[in-house]
C-alpha cells in the first residue's frame, strides 16, 4: 500500500513538471504495482477514458468551434467559417502524423523534439505511453494540435483566403505549436522549469490567443467594420457550439490526467465550477453595464471559464476554481467589450479577449490557487509565491515566441500569395466566391 501511495505521489510530481500529458503517468492499478521497477502495464480503464476523451476533444473542433464561430459571422460567410475548422481538422491530422507528434513528443533539445517518429514509423500495437497505448496518446494529442489553430480562425474570420489560411495553419502548427507543446509537455525547458499547465492554458490558449491578436492586426479590419451592422447571424449555432465545447472540455481537462482516477475526477469537477462561475460573472457584468443579460454573453463567459481553468484543472480545489471562474469571466468581458473597442483592432470573434486574456488569467491564477494536496504543488495562497513568477515566465515566453513567429509567417504568406480576399468578395460573401456554395 505504501509503495503504491509513493508511486502515486511520484507520478503527481512528475505531472507537475512534465505535465499531465506526459507519457510517464502513474501506474494506477495499485494491486499490480508491487515493485518500483515493474514496467508500466496497459490499464483498460485508463485507456477507455482516454479513447473517450479523444473523441470528445475532436467534437470540440468539429462541430464545436465550427458552430461556435459559425453562428457569430454573417450568413454569407457561414460555410467558409465551418470549412476552416473542418479543413484544419484534416490538415493537422496528417501533419501531426508526418512530423508534428515527433517534434512535440520525442526526446530532443530543450525547445523542440526530434524527428525519430516522423510518419509514426515503428509504432507498434502494444507500445505504451504510461498505462495507455501510445496510439491513443498520439491521437489524443492530435486533437489538441487540431483545436489550437482552429481557435485562431476567429480572429481573421470573414476575410482570409482559404489557400492562405491552409498555408498559415500548416506552417504555424509545425513552427509554433509543436515547439511550445514540446517546451511545456514534451520534456522541454518550460516544463522542466516548473511551469504548471495542466491541460493547455499556455500551449493551447495563450498560444492561439496571441497569434489571433497578431493575425487581426496584420490582416486588418473587415470592410465596413465600425460603420455597418456586422452582427452574429444565428446565435442558435453559437449556443450549440458553446455547449459542445463545454461537454468536450471534460475530455480536454479531465482527459489530461491521462488516467481515469481521482485527478481526472477533480479536474472535471473544477472545470464545471469555474465554467459556471465565469458564465454567471460575464452575464452579471453585462446585466449591470448594458441592462440586459445576453445569450452570447453567457456562452462567451462559459468559454472564458473553460479556458481559464484549463491550466489549473489538476492543481486547484473547488473553491479555487470558483474564484478563477469569476475572475476570468470578468476579465474577458472587459477585454471583449472595453479593451478591444478602445484599441480598435478587429479580432472578429474575440479570440484574444477570450483565449488570450482567459489563458493568461488562468495561468497566473493557477500559481495563486494551486493546492499541494491536490496536484502536488503549492500556490501563492499556500505560501509559494514563486509559483506565480514561474507562471508569468511561461506566459511571457509563449506570448513573445508565438507573437513574433506568427507575425513573420503571416507577412511571408502575404508577400507570396496574399492573405486577404478582395473587397468585392467580402461584399458578396466568401461562401459564394471561394467555395461556390451558399446557405439561403
Amino acid at each position: 500500500m505504501k509503495i503504491m501511495k509513493t508511486r502515486y505521489a511520484a507520478s503527481v510530481m512528475a505531472a507537475r513538471i512534465a505535465a499531465p500529458m506526459a507519457a510517464f503517468a502513474a501506474v494506477m492499478t495499485p494491486a499490480i504495482a508491487f515493485a518500483a521497477d515493474a514496467p508500466p502495464k496497459l490499464d483498460s480503464g485508463d485507456t477507455a477514458w482516454m479513447l473517450t476523451s479523444t473523441a470528445i476533444v475532436l467534437l470540440m473542433t468539429i462541430p464545436g468551434i465550427a458552430l461556435f464561430y459559425g453562428g457569430m459571422v454573417r450568413k454569407k460567410n457561414i460555410l467558409t467559417t465551418l470549412m476552416q475548422s473542418f479543413a484544419i481538422c484534416c490538415l493537422i491530422s496528417v501533419l501531426w502524423m508526418v512530423a508534428g507528434y515527433s517534434l512535440a513528443f520525442t526526446a530532443g533539445g530543450s525547445f523542440v523534439g526530434g524527428l525519430g517518429k516522423m510518419f509514426l514509423s515503428g509504432l507498434k500495437v502494444d507500445d505504451l505511453s504510461g498505462t495507455i497505448p501510445e496510439s491513443v496518446f498520439i491521437t489524443f494529442q492530435m486533437t489538441f494540435a487540431i483545436i489550437t489553430p482552429a481557435l485562431i480562425t476567429g480572429a481573421f474570420a470573414e476575410r482570409m483566403k482559404f489557400s492562405a489560411m491552409l498555408w498559415f495553419v500548416g506552417l504555424w502548427s509545425l513552427v509554433v505549436y509543436a515547439p511550445i507543446c514540446y517546451s511545456v509537455w514534451g520534456g522541454g525547458f518550460l516544463g522542466k522549469a516548473g511551469v504548471l499547465d495542466f491541460a493547455g492554458g499556455t500551449v493551447v490558449h495563450i498560444n492561439s490567443g496571441i497569434a489571433a491578436l497578431v493575425a487581426a492586426l496584420v490582416i486588418g479590419k473587415r470592410v465596413g467594420y465600425g460603420k455597418e451592422v456586422i452582427a452574429p447571424h444565428n446565435l442558435v449555432l453559437t449556443v450549440i457550439g458553446g455547449s459542445l465545447l463545454w461537454v468536450g472540455w471534460f475530455g480536454f481537462n479531465a482527459g489530461s490526467a491521462v488516467a481515469a482516477n481521482g485527478t481526472a475526477g477533480m479536474a472535471m469537477l473544477v472545470t464545471q465550477i469555474a465554467t459556471a462561475g465565469a458564465a454567471l460573472a460575464w452575464m452579471c457584468c453585462e446585466w449591470m453595464t448594458h441592462k440586459k443579460p445576453t445569450v452570447l454573453g453567457i456562452v462567451s463567459g462559459a468559454v472564458a471559464g473553460l479556458v481559464a481553468v484549463t491550466p489549473a484543472a489538476g492543481f486547484v480545489d473547488p473553491m479555487g476554481s470558483l474564484f478563477i471562474g469569476i475572475i476570468a469571466g470578468t476579465v474577458c468581458f472587459w477585454g471583449a467589450t472595453w479593451l478591444k473597442p478602445k484599441l480598435g483592432f478587429d479580432d472578429s470573434l474575440d479570440v484574444f479577449a477570450v483565449h488570450g486574456l482567459g489563458g493568461i488569467t488562468g495561468a497566473i491564477l493557477t500559481g495563486v490557487f494551486a493546492v499541494k494536496a491536490i496536484g502536488g504543488t503549492s500556490g501563492m495562497l499556500e505560501g509559494n509565491a514563486g509559483q506565480v513568477w514561474l507562471q508569468l515566465y511561461g506566459v511571457s515566453v509563449t506570448l513573445v515566441y508565438s507573437g513574433i513567429a506568427t507575425f513573420i509567417l503571416l507577412k511571408v504568406i502575404d508577400a507570396v500569395i496574399g492573405l486577404r480576399t478582395d473587397e468585392q468578395t467580402e461584399r458578396e460573401g466568401l461562401d459564394l466566391v471561394l467555395h461556390g456554395e451558399t446557405v439561403p
Binding site: E286, L296, W338
Partner: protein, 112 residues
C-alpha cells in the same frame, strides 16, 4: 380595378384577412417586409457592441378589388389592423389597368 396595398403589424394579419373575406374579397397576396417610419426601431447588443436596428417587421397585404368595393375594403383593413399605437401602418390605393386569372384566362373583374 384598384390595387390596395396595406402595410400592417404582423400579428394583425389573420384578423385583417378575415375582415376582408367578410366583405367578399376573395384573394390577396402577402409578403413579409420591414418598415421604417415614426415607430422607433430597437437596439441589439453583441459583446458590448450596440447595433441600432431601424427596420421593424411588418406584413404587406396586396389585394386587387373592383372599384365599387375599394373604399369599403380600405376602411375594413383600417379598422381591423388598428391598435391605436404608433406603427400601425399605411394603406395605399392605386389603379390597375388589367387583371388576368392565369388558370382560365378570364380578365379584369372576373379574374379577381
Amino acid at each position: 380595378m384598384k390595387l390596395i396595398t396595406a402595410i400592417i403589424k404582423p400579428f394583425k394579419l389573420d384578423e385583417t384577412r378575415e375582415a376582408l373575406t367578410g366583405i367578399g374579397v376573395q384573394g390577396m397576396t402577402v409578403s413579409e417586409v420591414k418598415g421604417f417610419g415614426r415607430q422607433k426601431g430597437h437596439t441589439e447588443i453583441y459583446r458590448g457592441a450596440e447595433y441600432s436596428v431601424s427596420f421593424i417587421p411588418k406584413v404587406m397585404i396586396q389585394a386587387a378589388v373592383s372599384d365599387d368595393i375599394a373604399d369599403t375594403a380600405v376602411e375594413t383593413i383600417r379598422s381591423a389592423a388598428e391598435t391605436g399605437e404608433i406603427g400601425d401602418g399605411k394603406i395605399f390605393v392605386s389603379e390597375i389597368t388589367k387583371a388576368v386569372r392565369i388558370r382560365t384566362g378570364e380578365t379584369d373583374e372576373e379574374a379577381l
